[in-house]
């Protein structure tokens, strides 16, 4: 048993490792995501979340989705993680106690329920999608040029709509940050 395993490893270790390049970051991803939920220290939770973003990017790249993985790193590690950290640093602990949303009374059980509800919706859509039912195209890794042409061709309306949404969010943030006008 052990010897057969050893032989498969030695026959072609790079191919054997090929699977582990996906599995290991996936394990890191799950551990980091779990740790960010249970961490007592908010900054530690944010750093664990950043680690899970990085691990997710590595999983994408190991699966051959190079472009998606790199955009994941650029957007989530470069921007989203920093926004989370800034939000934590700029919030005074006393404000956290005062700010009660309509969902604050639900407690951990309510949070878990909301989480599982989101998961159920996502799973329903994943199982309803044609992914995995059709045979995959011969090359799973789409070249960047093909992705760019698809975004600028078939999906250009969605792309522009997202751009408008992000611009609106940016303008909204600027309005919130502006000084109040003197009455």
């Amino acid at each position: 048993m052990m010897c057969a395993f050893f032989n498969t490893v030695c026959a072609d270790p790079l191919k054997f490792l090929g699977n582990w390049f996906v599995v290991l970051p996936a394990i890191v991803l799950l551990l980091a995501a779990g740790a960010s939920v249970v961490a007592r220290n908010l900054i530690h939770a944010a750093l664990f979340l950043t680690l899970s973003f990085i691990a997710l990017g590595v999983v994408f790249i190991a699966l051959g989705a190079e472009f998606v993985g790199l955009v994941q790193l650029l957007v989530y590690v470069g921007a989203v993680a920093m926004v989370i950290v800034f939000a934590i640093l700029l919030t005074h602990p006393a404000q956290l106690e005062k700010s009660r949303t309509p969902f604050s009374g639900l407690g951990p059980a309510g949070g878990a329920a909301v989480g599982f509800a989101v998961l159920a919706v996502l799973l329903a859509f994943i199982f309803a999608s044609p992914l995995g039912k059709k045979p995959l195209p011969p090359s799973a890794a789409a070249p960047v040029a093909a992705i760019g042409e698809a975004l600028m061709g078939d999906y250009v309306v969605a792309l522009i709509a997202l751009g408008v949404l992000l611009t609106a969010a940016l303008v909204g943030a600027a309005v919130l940050a502006m000084d109040d006008k003197k009455p």
Binding site: D12, I54, V71, L73, L74, F86, L89
Partner: protein
């Protein structure tokens, strides 16, 4: 002879692997070794460059300020990095009692990883790219984003108000200057039609009229985008005049305040290697990568050209440091958002028009106009706001 030198690094590696293969080494060991040889060579070259720069920078600064600079250790003070290294390693490693020990320890490591990783996608010579990637430019910026996390970790884990303030400043600066940096890089990708660095270098090959290199920096949009990239690169690398995250007079040393000994040296090394990486990116995107400037000089191996250009760009960065004073934080952020970013967009538009107008003389005039008008408008709005009037002294006369 020159052909021999051109392929020398690759030939040497192939010869060494062939030698091992003749001893009957298994294929997978050879595959791992061939990767390790490339990694080792790159890290070795950049560590030597770092050591040389740490002394040469002080020499150049000294020359600019009319003094000698380090000249005690070895000939012309060239062994100064060895002395500095011994000092750094033997220094006490202080960790504040209230620091977050684990994060404090991890920050320099996290800082060094992206600096080394981005070296993988630079084309060092003809056919010499360690990791040929379809989206190499994207990789450079995506991995480079890790630096911000490291700076934040260093600042927050030190549990020192100067550290946190310095880290906040550094992150605000990096995020602000990342936009013009990425936009000016995207322009070259757009004109070359590829995100792969080697394709961008290839698009700058050849000579117009037989002697003018077709580097992007020699077109109106390329010159603008190149300048925007260079200025943003100075800010990303925390170089003077944008080194205010560690402004000594107000923040002690910013996020580096509570670091000493080898951890400080690691930060220092990561910053310098990051500087070389971004110089390499600048050379790749705008200065024609490993291409020679005139046809007669193509006999010099391509990797020599690349290293030479990197050293030249790094030299200009030291020169800028010797020349310009440090900016104030609000001026610096306003400059990024109100000048560099619009100029980046102008260059973007200009490059698109240049491409679709046929890249001929008419295209040149069109793209010059698209660059020139926003430049004059923006420049005027800046100079009017910071108008320099004759200084009058109330009690001097």
């Amino acid at each position: 002879m020159m052909d021999l030198l051109e392929g020398a690094p690759i030939q040497l590696q192939a010869w060494f692997l062939g030698l091992l293969r003749s001893f009957g080494t298994p294929e997978w060991i050879l595959a791992v070794l061939s990767a390790l040889i490339i990694i080792g060579t790159i890290i070795g070259v950049f560590l030597v460059l770092f050591a040389l720069t740490s002394v040469l920078e002080r020499k150049i600064l000294a020359r600019a300020q009319n003094r000698y600079g380090p000249n005690r250790v070895g000939p012309f003070g060239l062994f100064q990095p060895v002395a500095d290294g011994i000092k750094m390693i033997t220094k006490e490693d202080l960790v504040p009692r209230t620091a977050d020990k684990v994060v404090h320890f991890l920050a320099p490591v996290v800082m060094l990883i992206p600096a080394l990783l981005v070296l993988a996608i630079l084309p060092y010579g003809r056919g010499m790219v360690p990791a040929e990637m379809d989206s190499g430019i994207l990789f450079f910026f995506a991995v480079g984003a890790g630096t911000e996390v490291a700076v934040f970790m260093a600042g927050w884990a030190s549990n020192n108000k100067y550290s946190v303030l310095g880290a906040m400043r550094a992150i605000a600066q990096m995020i602000s200057y990342e936009l013009p940096l990425v936009i000016s890089a995207i322009i070259t990708a757009m004109v070359a039609g590829s995100l792969s660095p080697s394709a961008i270098v290839a698009a700058q090959g050849g000579f117009a009229f037989g002697f003018v290199p077709q580097w992007f920096v020699l077109t109106p949009w390329g010159f603008t985008a190149g300048l925007v990239f260079y200025i943003a690169a100075l800010a990303e690398a925390n170089r003077s005049p944008f080194d205010l995250p560690e402004g000594e007079s107000e923040l002690v040393a910013g996020h580096l305040t509570e670091y000493s000994g080898f951890k400080y040296a690691t930060f220092f090394m990561a910053e310098y290697i990051g500087m070389f990486a971004i110089c390499g990116m600048f050379v790749t995107l705008f200065l024609g990568g490993w291409q020679a400037p005139v046809p007669a000089l193509t006999i010099i191996p391509s990797w020599c050209w690349f290293l030479g250009k990197i050293c030249f760009v790094a030299f200009t960065m030291v020169w800028v440091r010797a020349t310009l004073p440090r900016l104030r934080i609000d001026h610096m952020l306003a400059f990024a958002w109100k000048f560099l970013l619009p100029m980046g967009f102008a260059a973007f538009l200009s490059a698109a028009c240049w491409h679709y107008a046929g890249r001929g003389p008419a295209a040149w005039i069109l793209s010059l106009a698209i660059i020139g008008i926003p430049y004059l408008l923006l420049g005027n709005s800046f100079t009017n706001r910071f108008a320099v009037s004759r200084r009058t002294y109330q009690f001097s006369e």
